[in-house]
């Protein structure tokens, strides 16, 4: 059994190894966790706000729940995908710098196709980080890739949280509100009570007889 101090050291090393050289991944993972926690608080804020009417709560609570689910799923899927595309663009050399191209030339990899020799740079299967002498360019390549990763994560999170999520949650919450209001109406009709001693049918007949046509009762 490890001591708490040893476990804490191990935890710090895991964080360092997992996110130290991958800030884009950290933004995605902590972003998902952040959305889960803030969504819980936002649902509670609607539930305990007495200035919001019951009908509006029927819309806003499902809106918050839908917001949470859509946010978490779309944040992870979209942000992760956009980040993966950003990484791929840099790793394959589709997005590069003069220094990276000079390194590839020096390594003997043609950066442009010529005389029947096709350049692998920018092609799907090419990966600069897998080259045997990658260490020669790592100091320049890694900060550039991290920057693109972070930028892609930001773009992905803006698209998912600020565009996709509000549209999805509004559609979902509106449907939920309509269903809830319909249920409330049915319940109210069921609860309609006749005066004591007579059935609802008798009561309705008496009312109909009292307010005949021409008495101004709109049916």
């Amino acid at each position: 059994m490890k001591s708490p101090a040893a476990m804490f050291d191990e935890f710090k090393n895991v964080i360092y190894k997992k996110y130290g050289e991958n800030p884009g991944k950290m933004l995605v993972h902590t972003g998902v966790l952040g959305w889960i926690l803030s969504s819980l608080a936002q649902v509670a804020a609607v539930v305990f706000n007495d200035k919001i009417s019951r009908e509006q709560k029927l819309f806003l609570i499902p809106q918050e729940a839908a917001d949470a689910a859509a946010n978490i799923i779309s944040f992870y899927v979209v942000t992760n995908s956009v980040k993966a595309v950003g990484s791929k663009l840099v790793k394959t050399g589709k997005l590069s710098t003069p220094k990276i191209l000079a390194y590839l030339e020096k390594t003997g990899i043609p950066v442009k196709s010529k005389k029947g020799i096709k350049s692998p740079v920018g092609k799907w299967d090419f990966d600069i980080t897998k080259l045997a002498n990658f260490d020669e360019i790592a100091d320049h390549f890694k900060p550039f890739k991290n920057g693109v990763d972070v930028g892609a994560s930001l773009v992905g999170s803006i698209i998912s949280s600020n565009i996709i999520t509000p549209v999805i949650r509004n559609e979902y919450a509106a449907k939920q509100q309509k269903n809830a209001l319909a249920k409330m109406k049915t319940k109210q009709i069921k609860q309609l009570a006749a005066p004591r001693g007579i059935s609802i049918e008798q009561y309705q007949n008496r009312v109909a007889a009292r307010f005949g046509s021409g008495d101004g009762l709109k049916v």
């Binding site: 050291d9 926690l37 997005l95 710098t97 092609k123 550039f144 509000p166 509106a174």
Partner: protein, 199 residues
């Protein structure tokens, strides 16, 4: 020169198999782009180094204010009154969430930075910082503190994780009441006879 085997090792089969031939052709047909100016290369690298979860939260909040109330205001699926409350609540939520989210993340990252010192670190005056148990509490052991960029990212990551724990409480103590206050302020303001316009 690079050997054929090392170039072959660049081909990672499993990912390639997932993307169909069509997808790969589309990708391969996209022209390559080279960042020629050092200014932009430095800016991209700087974004990777300096943009922590706090800055991400701030950027998300600012862009959210520009898009989300507009989307809610044009939601034709609900009645006008609900739409107004929905817009007010969205604005309240964005302002409260961004302010507290940014401040707490930034504060926690700073705190972790103050307690993750390593040998050779200097203070603002340029004096060597004397290491003790407290200011090295979060410093990873061994060789890990040697890569300065990775060490900065480590502090950002750990600070963000601590911030998330802190926000488990502040979400209820600050976020939710502040959202409620701003929402009610906007709803009440809109109900005033003059439309809430300030003199």
């Amino acid at each position: 020169m690079v050997s054929v085997s090392s170039i072959n090792s660049c081909v990672h089969g499993s990912v390639s198999e997932k993307i169909g031939t069509f997808g790969r052709r589309v990708y391969n047909s996209i022209p390559n782009t080279v960042f020629k100016k050092d200014y932009w290369i430095d800016k991209v690298a700087l974004m990777g180094k300096k943009c922590s979860s706090a800055e991400q939260r701030l950027i998300l909040g600012v862009t959210a204010l520009a898009t989300q109330p507009f989307i809610d205001a044009h939601n034709k699926s609900v009645d006008e009154e609900t739409r107004k409350v929905s817009v007010a609540r969205t604005i309240g939520k964005i302002i409260a969430g961004t302010l507290t989210g940014f401040a707490i993340r930034k504060g926690c990252i700073k705190a972790i930075g103050a307690w993750s010192k390593k040998s050779g670190d200097v203070d603002k005056a340029g004096n060597l910082i004397k290491l003790n148990k407290l200011n090295t509490f979060f410093t990873p052991k061994g060789k890990f503190a040697n890569n300065p960029d990775a060490f900065e990212q480590y502090k950002n990551a750990l600070g963000t994780i601590v911030a998330l724990v802190v926000m488990m409480f502040t979400n209820f103590l600050i976020d939710a009441p502040l959202t409620k206050f701003i929402t009610n302020f906007l709803i009440d303001d809109g109900k005033k006879p003059d439309g809430g316009k300030k003199s």
